[in-house]
Each structure stands twice: as C-alpha cells, then as structure tokens.
C-alpha cells in the first residue's frame, strides 16, 4: 500500500533573530516526485526556512518530518544522511580539488563503509569507491562537465560551479534535493540547461524543492508553488492559480521585484 | 602571609596583566589577529626602559612614556609592513606571521642585547607606600597607576569619541565602520598602535619590578592569551576582569600553596572557564 503521508512535511516552523521573526509558523508539505517552488520577496524567510529544515540553523519551534522520520533538532550532517540534500545560494564547491574528487566526497558518507575499512582498503571499500566513481562520471557527464573532470573546480566559471554543485547534490541519491537559488548569477544558457536537467531528473522520480527569485523559471518548472512573505506562507497552489492570486501580486507590489513579477506573470 | 596582602598583590599584578591583555584583545577585536608577537612587544618596552634609565639617565616616568611611544611606532611599522595585508578570515596566516615576527624580534634582542637578566634601578625602587594599612612597593603602585589611567583613558576614547565608535563598530563588522565614516585601514592601524603602546607601557612599568631580559615576554604572552580567552575574545571589559582574576588566583596560589601552583593557576582558571563557559566570561554561546 502506497504511503499516504507526504515525503517531507514541515509544520509550524518558526525562527527569530534578535526579536525579528524570520520564519513565522510555516507549514507546507512536499509530495513524492514533485517539484516544489518556494518564492517570495527578498527577506521573506525562504533561505532561513531552508537552513532550519536542513539543520544549518536551529528552529525555535516546529517540526520537520522526512518520510515519517523526525528531523527536528538533528545536526546538518545527520539530516543530509537521512536523505535531504541541498545546494547553497552562494555556490560552494571544493575549489582546490578536482571535479571528480568533489563528487566523490559528496557520496562517501552515504555508502555505509566504516572508516577502518577505508583505511584497510577492504574489498567492500574498493567496491564502494568504484561505484562512486562510476556514478560521479555519469553525473559530471550529465551536467556537461565531462571534459573538465580532472581539473580543479577553481577552473570552472560561476555557472559551471552551479552545475557541479547540482551533480554533487545528486551523488548520494537523496530523497529530496533542495536547490537554494540555483540560477542566481547564472547566464541564460546555463539556466536552460539547469531547467532541462531538473525536468529530466524529475521525470525519473527525483523530488526537488527550488528556492528562486526567477519567478518565470518557477512557474515553468514547478508543479506546486509556496509563496512566502515576512516569514509567513502567503499562498500555496499550482502555478496557474498562484499567478492569479491577488495577495501574491499585492505582496510583490511596491517592492523592487514588482516589475519582474509583473513581467513574469503577465508579460509573456 | 596575610590573605589581604596576597589579594592586594594579586590585584596589582592583575592590573598590569590587564594592560597587556586589553591591547591583545583590542588588536584581536579589530583585526581578528591573535598577535603572537605581543610578548616580544612587551619585552621591547621593558628593554627600552632599561636602556633609557640605565644608559641615558632618564627619570622613570619620562622613560616609561618614551618607551611606550617607541614601541607604538614599532607597532605601526609592523602594521604597515605586515598586518594590514592580512585579510579577515586568514586567521592562521595572522598567527603564523606574528609568530615569525616574534621569533625574529626575540632572537635579534638576544643577539644584540645578550640574554643576561638585568635589574633596573629607578628613583622609585626599594621604597614602599602604605595602602589601607598594607605595604605595597612604590614601583608596583606606580605601575598600577599607569594601568588604571591608561585603561580608563582607553575606555573613555572607545565610548565617547567618534574614533572609538569606529573601533567598536569595526570589531562588530566592517560595513558599520564605513557608515560611521572612517576607513577600516586607518582605524585598524590606530588599534594596533594603541594595543602595542599598551604592551610597551606594561613592559616599561614592569621593568623595575622584575628583571629584564629578552625572553621575559614568553610567559607573559601566554597569560595574556589566557586572559583574552577567559574574558571572551575581543571583549575589553572581559579582559580586565579576567586579568584581575588571574592576578589574584596566582597570588593566592603562590602564597598559600607553592611556586608550582602559582605557575599552574592560570591553567586551572582557564580549564575551569572552558568547562563552564567555553566562550569566555562575556562570550556569546558556543558555536552550533
């Protein structure tokens, strides 16, 4: 019997910084196989929510359940091991290491090989390393960086680093990949490539949460959208409904994003 | 020995430690550099005073003043040549750099000055004054006077002047200093000058209390580190309180226990502190 509960459910999440409520009673759920978009004006609490969910910030209140397992209060590395993979707004890769080393690191905590086996170089460890290399080569190829795989990541352009970060996030076969502003500072060609990758991975069943400013991208690729404003959930629903939602338009009006939002909603 | 005498002696030493600790803490707060050359800077102050008093016949007070100024000038040169090139986040680089400077200064002093300890005689040596019925060496009382005056002055500068606001803002964040309208490099340079001047002054006023030699800075440096850790990194009032705590615990441990216990006191205080308040007396929380 297929489980009825959502893959990820976030309930009543709250977080304050010195008296300011960055996230205020946020509740939403992510279903298996969907692409959830999380949008909102600057400072609406999107990134803080993600940090709380992935253990990089400690929520004051609320709970996070992944596949029925409570993640509330767990450390970032434990949450990652539970199957919640993320990228960062300002792209993070290991600059000095080669692309291949980058992706290998992204997987090694997941294959259950204890450290002493790694030291002894046992059969199990070598097998795991071989499988990781294969998967790594596959993903580097998938994001289109195959020719670079032996070079240090420092050689990559900003957009290429975003692609590498995506490959790293996928290395552990996570239940959910959270992309924190995957398009920020990236040129249109790479944006199209990232969109295509997300779609094709999603058609194979990969679940995504995408936090973005690029509303057009969210409307195009997401099956459902959560809109945040001042730490609260303002609206939730399929893109077609969100586009028409008065409150959402109102929230964006008077802000710097208003024009972009208008264009994204109605300009095409 | 009477406990009150021990405590008084401890406070005296604590006040002088505070000079060194506050300077170290100030430099750390503004530049995020743990200055491993601070002990040698203190030594420079002491040797300068010994030279001025012994060879050039200066009086103690002008000699202390000139020594502190000279050391501050040296500190400024260090800042221009080396410290200003260290960016925030290059924390280890700052340590290694200042450690290298310390090695060079210390060995140059041994080479040119000789490692034999010297005794500095001033017009105030071998005289005692009476403080609330307790006898205190005059030279120590003068040292405390210097410490109180200069730390109070620093406090006033930091809290009452625009320049002080800039320094405090800079130890919180860079942009804030720009808002106050001061260039971070200038403010940081001033912080180094003040910090090294305080260390030089400490060396100068302590020179007649202890013997003077090029290796005298190493044990003091460590105490200053302990003070900064205990007080909370970059927290100046914390450094003052921590200095007094260290001074008194050392004095009590030495008077009631043994000389070894006196040496160990600073470690014991630090271990206790790290156990119960890992970020120091006034620090904010443990890292996540």
């Amino acid at each position: 019997m297929p489980s009825q509960q959502p893959l990820l459910s976030v309930e009543n999440l709250s977080k304050s910084f010195s008296g300011i409520r960055a996230v205020d009673d946020l509740t939403f759920a992510v279903e298996r196989g969907e692409i959830l978009g999380l949008i909102g004006p600057n400072g609406s609490g999107k990134s803080t929510s993600i940090d709380c969910i992935t253990g990089f910030a400690r929520a004051d209140q609320g709970s996070v359940l992944l596949d029925g397992k409570r993640l509330t209060g767990a450390r970032a590395e434990q949450i990652a091991q539970a199957g919640l993979s993320r990228t960062f707004q300002n792209v993070r890769v290991y600059d000095r290491l080669t692309l291949m080393e980058n992706v290998l690191i992204a997987r090694q905590a997941y294959d259950g090989v204890p450290w002493w086996q790694a030291l002894a170089g046992t059969q199990a460890c070598r097998g795991a390393e071989r499988r990781a290399s294969e998967r790594g080569r596959e993903l580097i190829h998938l994001v289109g960086l195959a020719t670079m795989s032996a070079f240090p990541a420092a050689f990559l352009s900003y957009g290429q680093k975003k692609l590498l970060a995506l490959a790293m996030a996928l290395m552990s076969n996570p239940k959910i990949v959270i992309l924190d502003e995957p398009l920020a500072g990236v040129n249109p060609t790479v944006i199209r490539r990232i969109g295509g990758l997300i779609q094709s991975l999603n058609s194979n069943g990969q679940t995504f949460i995408i936090v973005e400013h690029n509303v057009q991208f969210i409307m195009e690729h997401c099956s459902r959208v959560v809109v945040m404003e001042q730490g609260r959930k303002l609206a939730e629903g399929p893109p077609s409904l969100i586009k028409e939602d008065e409150r959402v338009l109102h929230a964006y009006l008077g802000k710097a994003d208003a024009v972009a939002m208008e264009l994204a909603f109605h300009g095409q | 020995m009477l406990v009150s005498t021990l405590i008084l002696n401890g406070l005296v030493m604590g006040a002088i430690y505070a000079l060194i600790g506050v300077g170290l803490s100030l430099i750390f707060g503004v530049l995020e550099i743990v200055n491993f050359a601070h002990g040698q800077i203190y030594t420079l102050g002491a040797l300068a005073l010994a030279l001025l008093v012994g060879h050039f016949g200066f009086g103690f007070l002008p000699a202390a003043f000139v020594s502190a100024l000279g050391v501050a000038a040296f500190g400024y040169i260090l800042y221009v040549l080396f410290l200003q090139h260290i960016r925030k986040g290059e924390f280890e680089r700052g340590i290694i750099l200042t450690l290298g400077i310390g090695i060079v200064v210390q060995n140059a002093l041994i080479y040119f000055y000789g490692a034999t300890p010297q005794i500095v005689d001033t017009e105030f040596s071998f005289r005692d004054i009476n403080f609330l019925g307790l006898r205190v060496e005059m030279i120590k009382a003068i040292a405390v006077g210097f410490a109180i005056v200069s730390i109070t002055a620093l406090h006033l500068v930091l809290t009452r002047t625009r320049f002080g606001m800039a320094i405090r803002a800079l130890s919180q964040n860079r942009e804030a200093a720009l808002v106050v309208g001061m260039r971070p490099e200038v403010v940081a340079g001033h912080a180094v000058v003040i910090g090294t001047a305080l260390a030089g002054l400490a060396g100068a006023v302590l020179a007649p209390v202890f013997t003077v030699h090029p290796l005298m800075g190493a044990p003091i440096l460590f105490k200053a580190f302990a003070i900064v850790i205990i007080g909370g990194l970059g927290h100046l009032p914390g450094a003052v309180v921590a200095s007094l705590i260290i001074g008194v615990s050392e004095s009590l441990a030495g008077g009631l226990g043994s000389a070894s216990l006196q040496d160990a006191a600073v470690f014991l205080v630090m271990i206790a502190m790290l156990q119960f308040r890992p970020m120091g007396l006034f620090g904010k929380g443990v890292r996540i």
Partner: protein, 329 residues
C-alpha cells in the same frame, strides 16, 4: 588558510625523485663522512615525522595546533618513564607512548574542538605549556629539571643476533629511518584514502561537508588524534637518541621548527613538507650560524613565506602548474 590538493604534481618526475631520495636515505650511513652528519640526518628524520603529524592536523584538517610539541614531549616522557621505572622494553614503551598520546588527544580534543578555531590554537598552546610545567614541577614523577638520564638504546634483533644497534650512529639512523618510513607511509596511505579526503573537505568548507553528511567534529578530532599519535611516536623514539629526557623536550624551538617546516613546505603538501624537514635541519649546519642568527633567519623565512607565498613551496608550484594547465586547456 591552509589547504591541500591531492592531485600530485608531475607524477613521473615525482616517482623518479622519490626513488632517488629513498636510495640516498637508505645508504646514507655508508657514505656519510662522520657520525656527526649521520646524527643530523637522524634528527631530520625525526623532524620529518613530527612535522608530518602537524601537517595532518593543520595542512589537511585545517586546525592550527601547537599541541604537536606537547605530544612529542609527552611521548618522550611516557616511554622514558616506562623503560626506567617499569622495566618496559623500548619498543613496548614507544607503543604505549603512542597510545597515551592518542588517548590524551581525544580527551583534550573533545573539549578544545567545542570552542572556536581561535580558541583551539590557544588551548593547544596551553596544553603544551602545561605539560612543560608538569615536567618541571611534578618532581616525584618526572625528576623535575634534572630529567631522566641513562636511557638504553633500542635494538633490532633476530633471534640472538643484533641486526641494528641503537648505540652506534648508523644503527640508530637505520632504526629511525625504518620506523619513520613506516609511520610516514602509513600516514600517506591514510591521507590518500577517503578519510584523508574528508579531512580536506572539512578544512576547505565546513558547511559544504556537513551538507554532504560528513561530520566536521569527528574528522577534526580524528585528525588531531592522528597527529598526536605521530608526534608521540616520534618523541618516544627520539628520547632514546638523546639518552636523557628533561623538560627541554618541550622547548619552543621544536614547535617553531615543525611550524616552519610545514609552512615553508606548504601546508597540505605531503612530500614538500618531508623535503623541508631535511632542508631546515641541514641548513643551519651548512651555514654554521650562531643559534640566535639561525632563528632570526628562520623567522625571516617564515615571515617572507607567509607574506608572499602563503601556501608554501608546494602550494606555489601547484598554483603554477594549474596556471599552465589552464592556458593549455
């Protein structure tokens, strides 16, 4: 900030160089003009091993530790005491010394790593100073400043025949070389494994590593313990060269040497650090400088390196190679 690259520069050249070095090192006592030279080469081996320990914790895991000289001295005292007071053989004593160092580092690391990186530096420094103080003051155990004299020389036997006798300069050299090579090779193997890779990851970007399920704390702690083991073993064997251990084993000089070797060689650059151990041990002998002048020179080298080549020689060469690759790419 220290960092490491695991891609080796010029593999064929390196292999050739390594074999040449191995041959030179192995045959050194045979052509060495005097026991004095052999003794210096022996010292270089000790510095190479102890600095490799520092390289693990600083160069790879990114934690600047001043505890290395503390573990070096702790290992020295433990092995000396076990041999003189408890009748252990040198080899068992050295093994126990390594174990004690690991245990101490785990206990200390649990406390020190909870705080910030800045505090870690100061705490590791105080650890070394505290040990020195104990060595001087806990006279009932350590004999205080007089030290523990009359330590025997270790021997390597096969049955009744003595293969290597630590009493002779060349005998001790080969013993040190054998042990050193073993420790260095094991460390290299470990750093090449996924454990070493995680050390580097944690150093380069803590948050990224955490987001990939890698525990920063556990890896920092194990790197610290590994450095303690290496330093402890080196110190434990070193006392048998000295024949006596006293509080001077904690001398700041050893700490400065290890740091200079790692910084100039390049933190995180395994082979360059080994190379620098030999350079910085041999250099003062060649120059025949007064001790102060030698330290002034070393201090200047340290300042210049950190100012103009913060990644050390290894880092500088890796950078150049990368620039060349980039151009041809």
């Amino acid at each position: 900030m220290a960092a490491a690259s695991m891609n080796s520069p010029w593999p064929p050249l390196r292999r050739l160089g390594l074999s040449a070095c191995a041959v030179i090192l192995f045959t050194l006592p045979l052509w060495s003009p005097s026991d004095y030279i052999t003794g210096i080469a022996t010292l270089a081996i000790f510095f190479a091993v102890a600095s490799t320990g520092l390289n693990v914790v600083y160069g790879y895991a990114g934690l600047l530790s001043f505890a290395q000289v503390g573990f070096w001295g702790l290992g020295a005292y433990v092995s000396a005491l076990l041999v003189t007071d408890h009748g252990f053989s040198p080899w068992t004593a050295i093994g126990c010394a390594g174990a004690v160092c690991v245990f101490t580092s785990l206990a200390g690391g649990l406390a020190a790593l909870r705080v910030s990186r800045d505090a870690f530096v100061v705490i590791t420094l105080s650890f070394s100073l505290l040990l020195q103080l104990l060595a001087r003051s806990w006279t009932s155990l350590t004999r205080g400043a007089m030290g523990i004299p009359g330590l025997p020389s270790p021997q390597v036997r096969l049955g009744d025949a003595i293969l290597l006798d630590g009493n002779t300069a060349s005998g001790f050299y080969w013993i040190a070389l054998g042990c050193g090579a073993l420790v260095v090779a094991a460390t290299w193997w470990l750093l090449r494994s996924r454990v070493g890779r995680a050390f580097v990851a944690v150093n380069l970007d803590e948050n990224l590593a955490r987001s990939q399920g890698i525990s920063v704390f556990l890896h920092q702690l194990s790197a610290f313990a590994l450095s303690a083991l290496i330093g402890g073993l080196a110190g434990a064997l070193y006392v048998f060269k000295l024949g006596i251990v006293d509080p001077g084993i904690f001398d700041i000089y050893y700490a400065q040497m290890m740091l200079i070797i790692v910084i100039v060689g390049g933190a995180g650059h395994f082979w360059f650090v080994l190379l620098m151990s030999f350079v910085f041990t041999a250099l003062p002998e060649l120059l025949r400088l007064a001790p102060e002048l030698r330290m002034i020179l070393f201090g200047l080298v340290l300042i210049i390196t950190i100012q103009f080549m913060p990644q050390g020689l290894g880092g500088y060469l890796a950078d150049r190679r990368n620039r060349m690759l980039r151009r041809t790419e």
